[in-house]
């Protein structure tokens, strides 16, 4: 199996493609495969040349932390949850998420997600819920990994613009539902940074690793 990776040494240098041969089991995730490529005695590319170990991020390796988000065969996904046996063809193409600045190889800087939430003061503060809470939806929304897959796939999200994407809308929803005193203010932020510009492509819901129904969050917020 051929593994084709878009690599980049540092944020300042140019990206380049490098290919590797992988001959192990297909009953393994992309994360497991990267580990195997990296930690043989040597790491050789498909030309048989010694190269640098592949940079990628991970922490939990079971789909609950979002660290290993990347683009796998053009689909944004978590490497720890994507299995080789489920990928079509004999080449696996890996590249870093395109909507974030690359730090090194498959590692990107997603701090903009937190920055956007910080500068607009998205926090609950004091639990003061609405009478008709949708507990299940809140529970799922609070499982958001902040992995950035929803931004990667979103046709409306561009770095540096005022549209902050589904990851932002879901935190707005949580605050809106869990503190009625903030509902009005949150609605203003939500409209400005999400509601007014979302074209409802809903691709965010297809790639979300924890299956957050952003559409349901939106419909609650749009109801005010």
């Amino acid at each position: 199996m051929k593994i084709k990776i878009l690599r980049q040494k540092t944020p300042e240098t140019n990206p380049y493609w490098e290919c590797f041969e992988y001959n192990g089991t297909k009953e393994i995730s992309v994360a497991g495969m990267l580990d195997q490529l990296n930690f043989g005695d040597d790491i050789l590319n498909d030309q048989g040349l010694k190269t640098d170990r592949i940079g990628w991020d991970c922490s939990c390796l079971q789909g609950v932390c979002g660290a290993c988000a990347m683009v796998i065969n053009e689909v944004p996904a978590l490497a720890c949850e994507t299995f080789l046996k489920n990928l079509k063809g004999e080449t696996v193409t890996l590249r870093p998420l395109r909507k974030f600045p690359v730090i090194h190889d498959l590692i990107v800087d997603r701090s903009i997600i937190h920055e956007n939430l910080k500068i607009t003061d998205i926090y609950i503060g004091e639990y003061n819920p609405k009478a008709d809470e949708d507990h299940d939806l809140q529970y799922t929304a609070a499982k958001c990994l902040k992995c950035g897959l929803c931004l990667e796939v979103c046709p409306n999200y561009t770095v540096g613009k005022s549209f902050f994407g589904a990851v932002y809308a879901n935190d707005c929803y949580l605050v809106h539902e869990r503190n009625t005193n903030k509902a009005k203010d949150i609605h203003v932020s939500y409209a400005k940074h999400f509601g007014n510009a979302c074209s409802k492509a809903l691709s965010c819901m297809e790639v979300c690793p924890v299956h957050i129904s952003s559409l349901a969050s939106m419909s609650k917020l749009n109801r005010v």
Binding site: C58, Y123, I124, N179
Partner: protein, 544 residues
């Protein structure tokens, strides 16, 4: 303004940061990644508390007694009382900041039964309690970030503490971006770096919790405690990327452990302990699995598929996703794996370590759990320890002027530079792998003098060569420079296990299978010029 440096942004780190900020202290919260990537998000079970809604007959004293008993009576009663008596306040606080608890029919946070406890008192958020708490605390941190009281810093790693004459003045951090060391002076340094997973290779926890910080502080003179007590989880599923935890809920729902003797299934837990044998404590089951010497399976396939779907959907999904096992048709192959570390930095009741102004909180500190931890007490301890440390820091007069560390810092810079500029194709991970093999073999569930001695010899050898090897510089600098601290911690753990010539809680020795009264206290270990000094904390210097 007073500056507090916190390393680690999981639940304990964030709890401490928020509490410091509430006191008006300025916090620098440093970690490799965002809080969403901390190990805390993996805690599924729940958080124990006796509240006004408590079950009939339950009381704070019952929670204290359960915790002390679970820890085989070597935790400090006063500190455990502090933990349990503040649990209600913690639940209320978490609810107030918006944690999405599972609720009962009255709309109040619900609680359930957990192993080893005399009453139902474990509050929970579905099957993702840790994650839900992290989400709420992250929002609350954000409030103080907006006010300029908490500054989050990412992609920086602990390198060493700045210590002179028993006082800590901050830390040196490694910055991934500039590939240099950055000194950060602080009025207090709080370590919230989690457990020591990577000493054992792939465990149920996060690969970012590697014990380096604790190992390095030990080398700098900090006292460590109870390193021999490691909780193994009996039922984990091997996958190529890690060991996945198969929840106790499977056994709670009637799951049966067995091995094959030819064609015949041997239900060894039921044979030995009766019909409730599969519900024995984690350490007993782990030891029994090891003693079979066979491949062990956990079977729930006899359960109605609909019940599996409603009662244990996470286990169903996990086995299907990572191993293609349909648990309604096949038994789950399971084996014990390292899960939690009761040992770590020795800290006093206020979570200050043996150095002044150096604090340890969460799993990296040794406190409350004694020789074994109750389920539901780790999230509680993470929250409580963060709070206690912050209150202690706030109550102190911290205006000590720091000495001149320029010489020390420049020497360390030079050492790192030399390491970064050396070249070889040998990856630092290979040394970590060798250590993990040794630790898994010799610090396993069942230990003996001979085996521990061999383990110490093996790690001593790795320590003797670690500084003489050139490493592949394309592996992260952190993975390279962290080796010595991690190896040193591994040797310290083996040394503690060798010194405790009895069996207690999670520490089991075939050559000393009984508990001994004279060992009914914590183990302390300190380091001086390469020598490891072990003692028993007879005076209860720590915890009480």
């Amino acid at each position: 303004m007073r500056e507090i440096l916190i390393i680690g942004n999981g639940i304990s780190g964030m709890m401490c940061a928020i509490r410091c900020a509430e006191h008006g202290l300025h916090v620098r919260l440093v970690a490799p990644g965002p809080s969403e990537q901390s190990q805390s998000v993996m805690a599924a079970g729940g958080i124990n508390a006796v509240t006004e809604d408590h079950e009939d007959g339950d009381a704070i004293d019952c929670h204290v007694e359960d915790t002390l008993k679970g820890g085989a009576y070597i935790a400090g009663r006063n500190s455990v009382y502090g933990l349990c008596s503040h649990a209600e306040e913690i639940i209320q606080y978490l609810e107030k900041i918006g944690t999405v608890f599972t609720i009962n029919e009255k709309g109040r946070p619900a609680f359930r039964a957990f192993g080893g406890q005399s009453h139902k008192r474990t509050y929970y958020c579905g099957s993702s309690t840790g994650k839900q708490i992290v989400s709420a605390l992250t929002m609350e941190c954000r409030r103080f970030e907006g006010q300029g009281l908490i500054t989050r810093v990412q992609r920086q790693h602990f390198y060493s503490a700045l210590i002179e004459d028993g006082i800590c003045y901050g830390a040196i951090l490694y910055d991934e971006k500039s590939r240099t060391l950055i000194p950060v002076y602080a009025d207090a340094l709080v370590m919230a770096t989690g457990g020591q997973n990577c000493l054992y290779g792939k465990t149920t926890g996060s690969g970012r919790c590697d014990g380096y910080a604790v190992g390095k502080l030990f080398m700098q003179g900090a006292v460590l405690k109870n390193l021999e007590f490691i909780q193994y989880h009996p039922t984990t599923l091997e996958t190529p990327q890690k060991r996945m935890l198969v929840s106790e809920a499977v056994r709670g729902e009637g799951g049966r452990l067995f091995y094959f003797d030819g064609e015949k299934k041997v239900y060894f837990m039921e044979d030995k302990f009766g019909p409730r044998g599969n519900l024995m404590t984690r350490d007993v089951i782990s030891r029994e699995i090891i003693s079979t010497g066979k491949d062990v399976f956990l079977d729930i396939s006899f359960m109605d598929k609909k019940l599996i779907d409603s009662k244990i959907p996470e286990v169903r999904d996990l086995c299907e996703k990572y191993r293609g096992i349909d648990i309604s048709k096949m038994p789950i192959p399971v084996a014990p794996s390292v899960h939690f570390f009761m040992g770590g930095l020795a800290v006093h009741k206020d979570h200050e370590s043996s150095f002044k102004n150096l604090y340890g909180i969460g799993e990296c500190a040794s406190m409350y759990h004694g020789a074994n931890r109750l389920g539901g007490n780790s999230l509680l301890a993470a929250c409580y320890s963060g709070m206690v440390a912050a209150d202690s820091i706030y109550g102190k007069n911290l205006s000590e002027k720091h000495p001149d560390f320029t010489g020390f810092i420049s020497t360390e810079q030079k050492n790192l530079k030399k390491r970064l500029n050396s070249y070889s194709s040998f990856a630092a991970m290979h040394i970590r792998d060798m250590l993990a093999d040794t630790m898994r073999e010799h610090m396993s569930i069942v230990r003996s003098e001979e085996s521990l001695k061999q383990g110490i010899e093996d790690v001593s050898y790795l320590l003797s060569v670690v500084d003489r090897i050139n490493y592949d510089p394309s592996v992260s600098a952190y993975a390279n420079y962290s080796l010595k601290g991690i190896l040193t911690l591994g040797k310290a753990a083996l040394t503690c296990a060798q010194a405790r010539k009895e069996s207690r809680g999670a520490h089991y020795r075939t050559d000393y299978p009984q508990s001994q009264k004279e060992y009914e206290t914590a183990t302390l270990i300190s380091y001086e010029n390469g020598n490891y000094k072990v003692s028993l904390d007879m005076e209860h210097v720590y915890e009480n």
